[in-house]
Symmetry: C3
C-alpha cells in the first residue's frame, strides 16, 4: 500500500543518456522512461497494449517509441501513431503516460491522479540547485521495503555499530551522543544530534588534510514523506561547533537521499552527497562517493536480511526503544496520508515544503 | 487447460539414442520415453509407484526399466515384473503407459483417453517422409506458454521487426506485403503472403550463389491444433513468382514446427526446416539450422518476456489489430475443442488432415 | 507438523569453535547457537526483538551477544543487558532461549515446552562416549523432509541399487539377504539382516588388508523418534559370523545418524561412523568419512529428487511393498506421538531409551 498522489524520484538524468529506453518499475507499475530527440522526457507504461511486449526493448524514434515486436509506434504522450500494414488506428490502442518532471539531475514521476500532479509539490532541496555544493548523484537497488531504509535513517545510533569503520567512526557515538532535538513535522520529522570532541570518522578523514585533530560533529536530519531524507552535517574544530560565530573553517555536507518503492519488497535508492569545500576538483566528491557506497553496502546487507526475516516470520513484531520515536511518528504520518488518500477525504492539495539549510 | 485427446510431438528420435532414458514433461505429466533393446519405443509415467523415484534415473533392461532405488522392475507396458526380495507382486504396483508412435524423426504421444489414440489422427506432413526434402530436426525449450509461440507464428509482420537481420530481411516486409489469403479452417488456419521484387533475406542469401538478384517470396503458412505449424516458402526470380509456369530455378523450403506444452508456462519446440535444392551435401541444411536457431532465439527472447509480463500483470488485456485475425480464430477453435472434450460431447473422432504442398 | 517435546541434534561442537555465532534453523525456528567465553553453550532465538536483525551477525561478548545494528546486548539467557543511549531496559525486550545440552560432540536442543526438557530423555548411544570407538562427526544438508531420509534408512535393500559401488557391494544383497528380525518398538523399530559369504563392500574393502576373502555381514539397525538411526555392523570371516563364539578378528562399525528437520522440506543430517579396529591412527576413520560422504551423496540425490516429485505431484500416493513394514510402523508411531502432544494427553514423560550394543 503506497501513497500514490505524490512525487517520487524515478531516475537520474545520467540513466537516460544516449537515447536509452529505461525500463523501471515504480510502486509496482512498469514504466518506460526516456528522453526524446527533442530533449523532452516521457514516462509511459512499459507494455505495448497489443501483445504486451516491452516498449523499453523497442526503438526510440523522434520523441516516440516503436515496439519492435510488430512495429506499432507511439508518441511521447502514449498515443498510437502507426500500425504497419493497417491504416485505421483503433482509439483504444494507446499507452498510459505519467506526469514526469526533471529537477536538476533527478526525474520525478507521479503515479496517482494526474490532475493533482502539481510540480510545485516537489520537495525543494536548495543545495541541489546551488553550484557551490558539489556531488555525484548515484543509485543503488535494495531488496527490501523502502520503509526499512527510512527506519535505518531515523536512528543514527546505528552509525556506531554498522558503520564503525566507514561513516560512523566509533561506537562511542551511540553512547555519548543523543538527539538533542526531535521535532515532529506534519509530513515527517527533524532530528538534531551533536557529537563533541571526537575523532573524524573515516569518510571525512579521507578528504581532510589534518587527520588527527578532534572535531565537533553536528547532524541535522529531516525525513519527509514518501521517503525523502536530507541531512546537513557540520564538522567544526573541537570546542567551536556549538557557537556559529566561531565556526571558521568548518566543513559541511548535505546528504540527499530518495527512497522510491519498486515493489513492496524492493526499493530504488537514489542519493547525492554534497560538500561545500572541494572547489573545482572532483576528487573530494569521488572519494566521498566511494565512502558512501561502502557505508550504504553495510546498511544494505543488514536491511535486506531484515526483509528476509519479515518474509520468513510474518508474525514477527518489532519492539520499540526510545530512539524509535522519530520512525514511529513517520510511520503514523504516512499511514494517515494513505488512509486519507483512500477515503478520498484528501480534497485539499498536499502541502509543499521547502527545506531551508539550518545553521 | 490443454487438449488431451490428440497427438503431441514429445521427442526426436535422436534424443533416444544409445538407450537413453529420457525424462520429459508433457502437458504437465512426467514421462519416461525410451527405446527398448528390441527397438520398440515406450512412454511410461516417470515415477516409480513404490516411493516416487524417477524411472528416467533407472536402468534399461531389455525393453523394460528398473528403478534404481529399491530395484523394482517394469516392462515396456508399465507392468511390474520383479521386486527384489519379494515373490508376490501386488497388481496395483504398475506404471501408467501412454500410446506413443514414431513417425520419421518425431515421436508422438497421446495423453488423453488411450482408447481414442488412433495413429491415423497424426497430422501427415508429406515432405517429412520424402527423401528429396533435406533438413535437420532440432529442439529448443521455451519458458512461455505454447500459445504465445502459436501467436507469434500467426502474424508474419513480426519478421520485419524481430528478424530484420536474420529471417526477415527488411522492415519493408511489414508495410508492403500483406496476407493475400486468410483461410479459416476447422482445426486451424491457412495464410498466404507474397513479397515481390525484394532482396533475399539473410538466411536465404547465405545458401544461394547470386546474393544480389531481386526475388519474389511467397509464404503459405498453415497452423493446426494443438500447435503444429507448417509453412511452404518459395523464392523465385523477381517477376516470375506469381506464375507457376515461369518458376524454373525457384528454391523452396518446408518449415515444420511443433509446439508441445511442457507446462502452462513452458513449451517444447521441435522443428525441421527442409529444402529441396541442396543435393547430397548437408552444408545447406547445416547453414539453415544455424540461421533458424539465430532467428528463433530472437523470438524466444521476446516471447519469454511476454510470458513474464502476463505473470507479473495477470490483468493485462491484449488489444487486437487486423493482423490478429488468424490467431484469434485459432484460439477460438482450440477453446471450442477443449470445451467439447470436457463436456464429453466429443463422441465423434477428431478428424485427420493431410497437408498437400501447395504449388 | 513436528514432534516438539523431544531433543534434536542441532549442531556439532566443531561448528562452535573460535566463538562462532552459528545461525541455524531447527523445526522452522531460527536459532543462534554459540559457546560463550566461559565455555557454556547457549541457544537463543536468532532475531533481535528490536528490529529483527540477526543476532548471529552480531558480536560475542563474554557469554552474551551484542546485536550489531543498534548495539543492544543480551546475555546467554536472552535477557537484555544494555541499550546504548538508553538507561531503562523494558522487560519485554528479551530473546527467547532454548534448552541446549552438549553430549560428546553433539549439541541437543529442545524446542517444545522447556519445563519438560529433561536431559535424561536424550537417547544414549554408549559407543559415542567409549574411547575405543573411533570416528569423525560430520554434517550434510538435505533439501528434503527428514522422514524421506528415515524411510531410506528403513529398507536396506536400497544398498544393492543405490550404493552398489560404495556402501552396498553387489545387487545380490537385495535378492539373497532379507531382514531376519523386524521388531516393532514403542518409539521406533529394530531390524536385523545377514548377508553371508559375500565380497566385502567397497567402503570396507578400502580399510582391510585382505581384500579378497569372503565375509559374513550383519547389520542391526535401530530407528528411534524423532529421527535417530543407529546401526551395528559386523564383518566376520565367512562361515563364522552366525556364531558369536567363532568371531575372532571380526571387524565392527557403529553408525549413528541424526536427522533433524530444518523446515518441512529441508533437513540437517549429522552422523558419526565409528569403528573399533583402527587404533590410534585416524587413517581408517578418515577413509570411512570419505566413503560415507560418497554413499550419502548417492542417497541425497535420489531423496532430494523424491522431495521434488512430492512437491510437483502433491497427489502422488506411494504404494508399499513388504520391505516397507518398518517405515510404515515408524510413521504410525511418530504420528501418534504428535497427536498425543497436540491433544495434550501427553502428561506422562516421554520414555528414555538406552541402546545396548548387540553382540
Amino acid at each position: 500500500m503506497f501513497l500514490k498522489n505524490c512525487w517520487y524520484v524515478a531516475a537520474l538524468d545520467q540513466e537516460l543518456a544516449h537515447g536509452r529506453l529505461l525500463g523501471r518499475t515504480v510502486l509496482g507499475e512498469h514504466l518506460l522512461i526516456y528522453r526524446g530527440e527533442s530533449g523532452s522526457v516521457s514516462a509511459l507504461n512499459d507494455r505495448c497494449p497489443h501483445r504486451g511486449a516491452l516498449l523499453s526493448k523497442g526503438r526510440l524514434e523522434g520523441d516516440g517509441v516503436r515496439c519492435m515486436y510488430h512495429g506499432i509506434k507511439y508518441d511521447g504522450s502514449g498515443k498510437c501513431v502507426q500500425i504497419p500494414g493497417q491504416d485505421m488506428i483503433p482509439p483504444k490502442l494507446r499507452v498510459r503516460s505519467y506526469p514526469i518532471v526533471e529537477r536538476g539531475h533527478f526525474l520525478w514521476v507521479w503515479l496517482g491522479d494526474a490532475a493533482k500532479a502539481d510540480p510545485a509539490l516537489i520537495l525543494d532541496l536548495p543545495y541541489l540547485r546551488d553550484p557551490s555544493w558539489k556531488g555525484i548523484p548515484a543509485y543503488l537497488h535494495y531488496k527490501a521495503n523502502y520503509l526499512l531504509i527510512v527506519d535505518n535513517l531515523s536512528d543514527f545510533s546505528h552509525l556506531a555499530f554498522v558503520h564503525t569503520q566507514t561513516l560512523g567512526g566509533s561506537e562511542e557515538y551511540a553512547y555519548v551522543s543523543k538527539p538533542t532535538v526531535i521535532e515532529r513535522l506534519e509530513r515527517g520529522f527533524r532530528v538534531e544530534r551533536w557529537h563533541l570532541n571526537s575523532d573524524p570518522p573515516p569518510f571525512h578523514r579521507k578528504v581532510i588534510p589534518d587527520k588527527a585533530a578532534k572535531l565537533d560533529r553536528r547532524n541535522i536530519a529531516t525525513m519527509t514523506v514518501p521517503g525523502i531524507f536530507n541531512m546537513e552535517t557540520l564538522f567544526a574544530a573541537a570546542g567551536q561547533g556549538k557557537e556559529a560565530a566561531s565556526r571558521g573553517g568548518a566543513k559541511e555536507y548535505r546528504n540527499c537521499q530518495f527512497m522510491t518503492p519498486e515493489t513492496e519488497r524492493t526499493t530504488h535508492f537514489f542519493w547525492s552527497y554534497l560538500n561545500n569545500f572541494e572547489g573545482e576538483d572532483s576528487t573530494v566528491s569521488r572519494t566521498l562517493l566511494e565512502s558512501l557506497i561502502e557505508g550504504f553496502m553495510e546498511d544494505k546487507e543488514i536491511i535486506e536480511r531484515q526483509q528476509q526475516t519479515l518474509d520468513e516470520d510474518p508474525s514477527f513484531q518489532m519492539l520499540g526503544i526510545l530512539a524509535d520515536a522519530p520512525l514511529a511518528h513517520f510511520r503514523r504520518v504516512l499511514a494517515r496520508l494513505i488512509d486519507l488518500e483512500h477515503s478520498d477525504g484528501a480534497t485539499q492539495r498536499p502541502e509543499a515544503r521547502s527545506t531551508t539549510p539550518a545553521g
